[in-house]
């Protein structure tokens, strides 16, 4: 019986003009946006490669230990084609120094993602944005007359005269519409994927295909959520016109107004400035304390100079290229100075980082959690969050990059301790030979991190979306069963 009903519904859906429109709209929009984004990704990758090359040459050119500063780059993420998340906006190049612990919340990192910074003025969309708007609309358009229409035509009476349960009718309508709606989605998704694979620089691994599968699955669940919303409205409304208008209002609210307004409110009502300012004060106190300690020591590079010779460098890096023979005797004093100073500096930097980390978690992290929670109330928000996690472009993925950078900074510090670098001559002087950095491990970072971690974040959102589906389906069946026809 169910099969007969589904067959009938599928036929009815396929025959309407909505179906070809849905297919054409999905395919055209999916393809144009993919072509544009692929081109954009290629350009970003080229600019990353160029930056990476330049930095690679510069990074280990320091001749003394103290001179080491690194520029580390984050490669662009190919899955940002699906959901760009923060991939284009978050910092993609970090300067790593020993006197600063980098964090995603700092302001002073730059982004080389765009050649023309004015391009930030042009809004950029991704596949998920297009689907988020288009598919929800299509789902509602397929659903608004599913029950209300049949009631108006009187065919519902006719159908119920047969020995068929009301739950079965709802189920058959749901399944058949989903089959019809999935077709345009699958077609455009596959075409978009094929187009991406044409690009010489995009090369997905198995894990990446799993992520894409996750995005596709979320898309279908999202579609189904909106179909069920439409079905419920269609069930409640007496007339198709009412059903259509209420569906459209709910659509506008759920996909545009609620996500924007909630983020706007969260941004506005969660105060951050005061705590950050306080943290700034505390950090500068810590650093001033360090400077006082430093002032107690005799700086060999301040007049009257201990060493006679040539040197270059700034406040934290020194490179002495030539020492006069008479000054050789002072070398142990300089070594002792750094032996004393540098561990103190690192302790102060660490203490300041603890303060800042605490402040960030109370402000920005707190605010982004609130924003995430607010978004979860709309299926569009859930869809965004789940796909961003699958694509590895959400905040957690950006933080993972900074975590890797921080870990690498620790590796370098450990390397310094291992080599007893602070008390070595090469800390400040390269006249007896430059430092060879061969035994220091190099930093490497993949745009796509651990699949299990990302998908566990995504599946939380996906489960919420599934739960919403289930609730909507049950409510629709219950409402329909208790209704007078």
């Amino acid at each position: 019986m169910l099969w007969t009903l589904i067959q009938r519904e599928i036929l009815a859906n396929l025959m309407t003009f909505r179906f070809p429109i849905a297919v054409i709209a999905c395919v055209i929009l999916g393809l144009t946006i993919t072509a544009a984004l692929t081109d954009n990704y290629e350009r970003r990758l080229a600019s990353y490669n160029e930056a990476f090359q330049t930095h690679q040459e510069k990074n280990f050119s320091a001749k003394t230990y103290s001179g080491l500063t690194l520029q580390l780059d984050r490669p662009p993420n190919p899955l940002s084609l699906f959901n760009q998340g923060l991939d284009k906006r978050a910092a993609n190049s970090v300067r790593l120094r020993r006197d600063k612990v980098p964090s995603v919340w700092e302001d002073n990192y730059f982004s080389t993602g765009f050649d023309n910074p004015f391009r930030h003025l042009l809004a950029s969309v991704d596949i998920v944005t297009v689907f988020q708007i288009l598919l929800s609309l299509l789902a509602l358009v397929f659903a608004y007359d599913a029950i209300a229409g049949e009631r108006e035509n009187g065919t519902l009476h006719l159908m119920l005269a047969n020995p068929v349960g009301r739950g079965l009718i709802v189920l058959s309508k749901y399944l058949s519409a989903m089959i019809c709606l999935m077709l345009p989605v699958l077609i455009s998704f596959l075409l978009a994927l094929m187009l991406q694979l044409q690009s010489p620089v995009i090369d997905y691994s198995t894990a990446d295909f799993l992520r894409i599968g996750g995005i596709l699955l979320t898309t279908i669940v999202y579609l189904s959520a909106f179909y069920l919303i439409g079905l419920l409205i269609s069930c409640i409304s007496r007339r198709t016109a009412t059903s259509l208008i209420s569906s459209m209002f709910i659509w506008v609210v759920l996909t545009f107004i609620y996500p924007n307004a909630s983020l706007f409110m969260v941004n506005h009502f969660i105060e951050t400035e005061e705590k950050i300012e306080q943290a700034d004060r505390e950090t500068s106190q810590i650093m001033e304390g360090f400077q006082r300690e430093k002032a107690k020591l005799r700086d060999p590079f301040a007049p009257p100079f201990l060493l006679k010779g040539h040197w270059s460098g700034g406040s934290i890096s020194k490179d002495v290229t030539h020492i006069e023979a008479a000054s050789e005797l002072e070398i142990p004093t300089v070594k002792a100075y750094y032996q004393e100073l540098e561990p103190q500096r690192l302790r102060a930097v660490e203490a300041a980082w603890v303060v800042r980390k605490q402040a960030y978690s109370e402000t920005f992290v707190h605010r982004s959690t609130a924003a995430r929670n607010a978004l979860r109330l709309s299926p569009a928000g859930l869809y965004y969050l789940a796909t961003a996690a699958y694509a590895g472009t959400d905040l957690a993925a950006m933080e993972a990059f900074f975590k890797a950078v921080r870990q690498y900074r620790q590796t370098i510090l450990d390397y310094f301790y291992d080599k007893k670098a602070f008390s070595s001559r090469q800390w400040f002087a390269s006249d007896k030979g430059a430092v060879r950095w061969d035994d220091l491990s190099r930093f490497s970072y993949q745009a796509l991190g651990d699949l299990t971690e990302d998908s566990s974040r995504a599946s939380g959102e996906l489960l919420r979306l599934l739960l919403l589906n289930l609730v909507l389906l049950i409510v629709t069946i219950v409402v329909f069963s208790r209704q007078e026809v």
Partner: protein, 475 residues
């Protein structure tokens, strides 16, 4: 007769569910906008005040010696925030807040260094507070372009098709009334009721801002708000006309709404965010990394002057000026001009790319309305171009001042802009021209004029087509 139809339609619309929902939605969003604007504007004003006083302090410090001004330039020239930013935020967060007139940064032998020039950097770095899943500001543009256009379609989708379905159109037309009167009457009533929704949102918004004390506008700014309101109404009229057109072409109200919504999604949401990006992708700026000292080194300028014996002799304070002094002055002037030209050329390449994208985006009335409202509100890209023009005018003014201040000093050899050829006396701070960034009403309207005409054109074409197809429709 027209008035009868308008009255009947208005009554029907105001009593409907959609009117109540629309009113609620618009007023709510306008409230959110006002609440958000109050704090932000105060913070931005305070920031601008600080920057302006830092600018004068720096200038005063440099006025202790004329040549210090030649070397260091006027400093950072800040863009004045628009008091109407609640109407259109105009992506101001992504635009530079200043242009800098600063030291050139190079020095060469004989202690000569390059004179000041304009540089157009100052793009804001990514701010931690902007790291958010989605970030769209709720301003008048969003409310007008997304919400009101959507409402216009919901208002009109059944205007003709619905009446055809119910048979009431036949009844109306059986009276002695022309078809064009029916269409015009329906159009006017839709515009009036949607205008009422828009107006109440605007009034609530302005009232809240007024009560909070944030809204201190002069007559000029009020007239710009008036202009924005008119653009909003024109934009709504375009969508009402579109709704009528589809509604006359289709016999079923539901079909009409489905088609309208698809057009809406493409026109309002997707075209403005996709088309420009695609088209501008085809036209990349040719210089990728921006003007850097490398360009000067390789541009051959220095070599050319070196061949003429630039570095053989130092400039002196002798009067009349020695050939070496004159040559150095010529070099410094040309180098500064060339440097400014390179910076400007790079900026132009960047701007052109955006201009192309904007031209293509004008296929969508949403983009047109956005550009018009931004011009009127004094935010966004057009305003930024105005700011750059102000900055350039000021740069000329500043250089002219330097020359005339030098002329006023009888002890100077009058060879600008080499140190030895210029006065080294202090200048009075009051006489230095100060940078004043302002938007003129005329400029704002001129910027919006093209867009307003385009919007009108859209309306005329759509309404005329709707009219024709309604005339030819069998009922």
């Amino acid at each position: 007769m027209l008035w009868h139809i308008v009255k009947r339609e208005l009554f029907e619309q105001v009593n409907s569910l959609r009117f109540a929902l629309a009113m609620l939605l618009t007023v709510f969003l306008m409230l959110v906008n006002a609440v958000g604007h109050i704090d932000e504007y105060k913070a931005r004003q305070a920031e601008y005040g600080q920057q302006a006083s830092a600018y004068s302090a720096k200038l005063e410090q440099n006025s202790s010696n004329l040549y210090k001004l030649v070397l260091n330039g006027p400093g950072e020239l800040h863009k004045k925030p628009s008091p109407l930013s609640f109407c259109a935020h105009g992506s101001e967060n992504n635009l530079p807040k200043f242009a800098s007139g600063k030291r050139s940064g190079w020095g060469t032998i004989y202690n000569v260094s390059g004179i000041w020039r304009l540089k157009y950097s100052g793009f804001p770095s990514i701010k931690a507070k902007d790291i958010f899943p989605v970030f769209l500001k709720i301003d008048w543009i969003l409310i007008i372009s997304n919400v009101l256009s959507f409402l216009a379609l919901v208002w009109t989708f059944d205007a003709i098709a619905g009446e055809v379905e119910h048979g009431t159109l036949r009844l109306t037309l059986s009276n002695a009334v022309a078809r064009r009167t029916v269409l015009t009457g329906k159009f006017l009533s839709c515009l009036m009721s949607l205008g009422a929704v828009f107006m109440s949102g605007v009034l609530v918004n302005l009232l809240l801002l007024y009560l909070s004390g944030t809204l201190q506008l002069n007559a000029q700014e009020w007239s710009r708000i008036g202009g924005i309101f008119v653009v909003g109404l024109m934009y709504i009229a375009v969508f009402i006309a579109l709704g009528f057109l589809i509604s006359t072409l289709v016999n079923n109200a539901a079909t009409s709404l489905v088609i309208l919504l698809l057009i809406w999604v493409i026109w309002v949401i997707l075209v403005p965010s996709m088309l420009g990006t695609i088209m501008s992708g085809l036209n990349q700026p040719s210089i990728r990394r921006g003007p850097s000292p490398v360009y000067f080194r390789y541009s051959g300028l220095q070599e050319r002057y070196r061949a003429r014996g630039l570095e053989d002799e130092a400039p002196t304070r002798k009067r009349p000026p020695t050939p070496a002094t004159l040559l150095w002055a010529e070099f410094l002037n040309e180098e500064a001009r060339e440097g400014a030209r390179l910076h400007r050329a790079y900026l132009n390449a960047q701007i052109n790319q955006i201009q192309i994208a904007r031209e293509f985006n004008r296929i969508s009335p949403t983009a047109i309305a956005q550009y018009a409202i931004e011009s009127l509100a004094g935010t966004g890209f057009q305003r930024h171009l105005n700011f750059l023009k102000n900055v350039e005018n000021y740069a000329d003014q500043f250089n002219n001042f330097l020359i005339s201040a030098d002329r006023a000093d009888p002890d100077s050899p009058h060879v600008p802009f080499v140190r030895e050829g210029m006065s080294d006396k202090p200048v009075s701070f009051e006489s230095i021209p100060k940078f004043q960034d302002r938007v003129h009403l005329g400029e704002a309207f001129k910027g919006a004029m093209l867009d307003m005409i385009l919007l009108l054109l859209f309306f005329v074409v759509l309404f005329a087509t709707a009219h024709v197809s309604f005339q030819r429709k069998e009922i």
